[in-house]
């Protein structure tokens, strides 16, 4: 595995520039926008004195390239400005919300990947009615928009049946400790995770099915059969192992979709993550927070892609050894 370390370094070198790209894009957008960039970087509300110091801090009276250096160093230091409306630094606001979002995303991702790969493989291996019905179900799963699905789930399970809470992450007015707290969170987690997982499950199923079907047409499957191996081993050891490579790529590529999905789902279920923060900030025109969420979101996605790329190298020996 001596080839692994240079491989990791190479990947890191590929991804770091992307973070700069995100910052550059944000900077360009802010300065291309009509009106004074101060409003966007500081917020619409504020007294003269505050705006004045902010302008000086951001170097808005300096030439463009100096402004960029200042902006870049601020962002790299983690200084994304100050939310005047909430009187808190943007970075702190966002970092406080990230765990809740990640909890939602990772739980949904875990379940949907696990179940989706299983169902997808079964659908590919068993042709006929089972395959057709699973494919149709997954088509519906893919097509229904997250936020609407969330609303319907909420209407059915919380409003009509009343078996799950209407929203939030913990029951308001109770201060649970220890295991009770965990159980309470899980209780609140079920519906948003379900919303988020349905789409992802459907998509993973679809990708896995296609990928396994494709792998099953490959020549090495015939070789495996010629050895007299049981069909289960042919499918799981030979077909699925090869089929997983595109599936993993998809899961990585989909982190972005999932994160956005989480943001929309959080809005439906008032889950206290980045999504709710974004929703409130849009209503209040709190531009620094919106920009901050964009930057943080992008970085999370870039990191997820990096991880998947590394995983890809582990799964496919052809990529690693060159």
């Amino acid at each position: 595995m001596s080839s692994l370390i240079p491989f990791i370094i190479k990947k890191l070198l590929q991804y770091i520039p992307m973070i700069f790209a995100v910052i550059i894009i944000t900077f360009i957008l802010v300065h291309m926008a009509p009106g004074d960039p101060t409003f966007i970087l500081v917020g619409e509300v504020g007294d003269e004195e505050f705006i004045k110091t902010a302008r000086a801090r951001l170097g808005l009276d300096k030439p463009l390239h100096e402004r960029f250096i200042i902006y870049l160093s601020n962002v790299l230091k983690g200084d994304l400005g100050y939310s005047y409306l909430r009187s808190e630094p943007v970075a702190k606001l966002i970092v406080d919300r990230i765990p809740a979002t990640l909890l939602l995303v990772l739980t949904a991702m875990f379940f949907s990947a696990l179940i989706g790969i299983m169902i997808g493989t079964i659908a590919a291996a068993r042709k006929g009615v089972l395959d057709i019905s699973l494919s149709t179900l997954s088509l519906f799963g893919i097509s229904i928009p997250y936020f609407w699905l969330g609303q319907i789930i909420l209407i059915v399970f919380a409003v009509r049946l009343g078996i799950f809470p209407l929203g939030g992450m913990v029951t308001v007015g109770r201060s649970y400790q220890g295991i009770d707290y965990v159980l309470d969170v899980i209780y609140h987690l079920v519906l948003p995770v379900m919303t988020l997982a349905i789409f992802n499950l459907a998509y993973t199923t679809k990708i896995t099915r296609g990928s396994v079907l494709e792998a099953l047409t490959q020549d090495y499957i015939v070789t495996a059969r010629s050895k007299g191996l049981p069909e289960s081993r042919v499918i799981f050891r030979h077909a699925l192992r090869n089929a997983l490579i595109p599936v993993v790529t998809y899961i990585g590529f989909n982190t972005g979709v999932l994160l956005v999905g989480a943001i929309l789902t959080e809005t439906v279920f008032a889950w206290p993550g980045m999504g709710s923060l974004l929703y409130d900030s849009i209503r209040l025109r709190d531009y620094p927070v919106i920009l901050g969420i964009f930057i943080y979101g992008s970085i999370i996605i870039i990191i997820a892609n990096l991880i998947v790329d590394l995983l890809y190298g582990l799964l496919d020996p052809r990529i690693r050894v060159r």
Binding site: D219, Y220, S226, P230, R237, P317
Partner: protein, 321 residues
């Protein structure tokens, strides 16, 4: 001693354009230790015929008639369940495929790919199987066997990959080895090496060989018996010496002359006109008649049977009457 007897086998493919009559009423026998070549062009049904023995055909293939008897117990392979067949594939029948690049699993070490069938058929642990793999690779005179076994296919050269394929096929000492165009993807010099290896193996291990190929050159060097296929039918079946010395069927004659050789004598290339027929609607009567220079009325209407006309010699042609 008979090993395989194919009788009146019919294999069709179901495609969106219609039924492809790939193998139509073919009978053939192969004995222990014998090397048989099935020679034909693309679409002649040669691969279908060979791979229907271990039933490794694509999903849309249907065995519609006939039987394939495996001796000594005389079981019909076409009637066996998948489960019963699995005990024969890999253990009693090994297969070497055409393109070692695509027929080896790209994400599995080659040593594990060979060990796999040993584990399944010889009831031994993975560790024992791996030792057997090394013995096997050494037997095939592969230098640095340990190293090769721990490689992935893409790290090996074409010839080495084909040797790995061969060792998968013979890992459980099969009675029959089916080699489907085993050297088509290889260079001439590598081809010569791989063929040499195959020849030595079948002699040493007394394995029966079915060599599927379009190249009459490698048949001359390797096999004892030759079956010439055209459009899903066997048109001539003969001992290798007789066939080359005195080909009977017009197609065989054309095939032998159509290939330039480096023989001393002035090479004259004769032509078979036309092109390979469409097997969805094959020509009536003798399937070769539209391309045959000696065609007469009967050929167009009646199909010639494969008749024994000399010792070990069968020809399907009305000229032989």
């Amino acid at each position: 001693m008979k090993l395989i007897e194919i009788s009146n086998l019919i294999v069709y493919y179901n495609t969106s354009q219609g039924l492809v009559k790939a193998v139509d009423n073919v009978s053939l026998e192969i004995s222990r230790g014998e090397a048989l070549a099935i020679v034909g062009e693309s679409g002649s049904g040669k691969t279908t015929l060979a791979l229907s023995i271990p039933r490794l055909l694509p999903d849309n293939a249907r065995i519609l008639g006939g039987s394939i008897w495996l001796y000594p117990e005389k079981v019909d392979l076409t009637k066996l369940s998948e489960k019963e067949l699995r005990r024969i594939r890999g253990r009693r029948i090994g297969v070497v495929f055409q393109d070692p690049m695509t027929y080896l699993n790209p994400v599995m070490k080659v040593g594990d790919q060979i060990a796999e069938s040993i584990v399944y058929h010889q009831n031994c642990s993975l560790k024992e199987a791996k030792e057997k793999v090394l013995e096997l690779l050494k037997k095939l005179k592969i230098p640095d066997a340990e190293n090769v076994a721990s490689r992935y296919p893409h790290q090996l050269s074409g010839g080495m990959k084909q040797r790995v394929m061969i060792s998968i096929a013979i890992s459980c000492n099969p009675e029959l080895l089916i080699a489907d165009e085993p050297t088509t993807a290889l260079d001439v010099t590598v081809q010569a090496e791989v063929l040499e290896l195959l020849r030595n193996l079948i002699q040493e291990l007394k394995i029966a060989l079915i060599l599927v190929t379009h190249d009459l050159g490698i048949v001359a060097e390797t096999c004892d018996k030759v079956a010439i296929m055209y459009a899903g039918k066997i048109v001539e079946l003969a001992d290798v010496y007789n066939l080359y010395r005195d080909p009977k069927h017009p197609y065989t004659v054309g095939l032998l002359d159509a290939v330039p050789t480096i023989k001393e004598s002035e090479s004259k290339i004769s032509i078979i006109g036309g092109s390979i027929p469409d097997l969805i609607n094959p020509p009536s009567g003798c399937r070769f008649h539209p391309r045959c220079p000696y065609m007469f009325e009967k050929c167009r209407q009646e199909e010639p049977p494969l008749v024994n006309f000399d010792k070990n010699r069968y020809v399907a042609c009305w000229l032989m009457e």
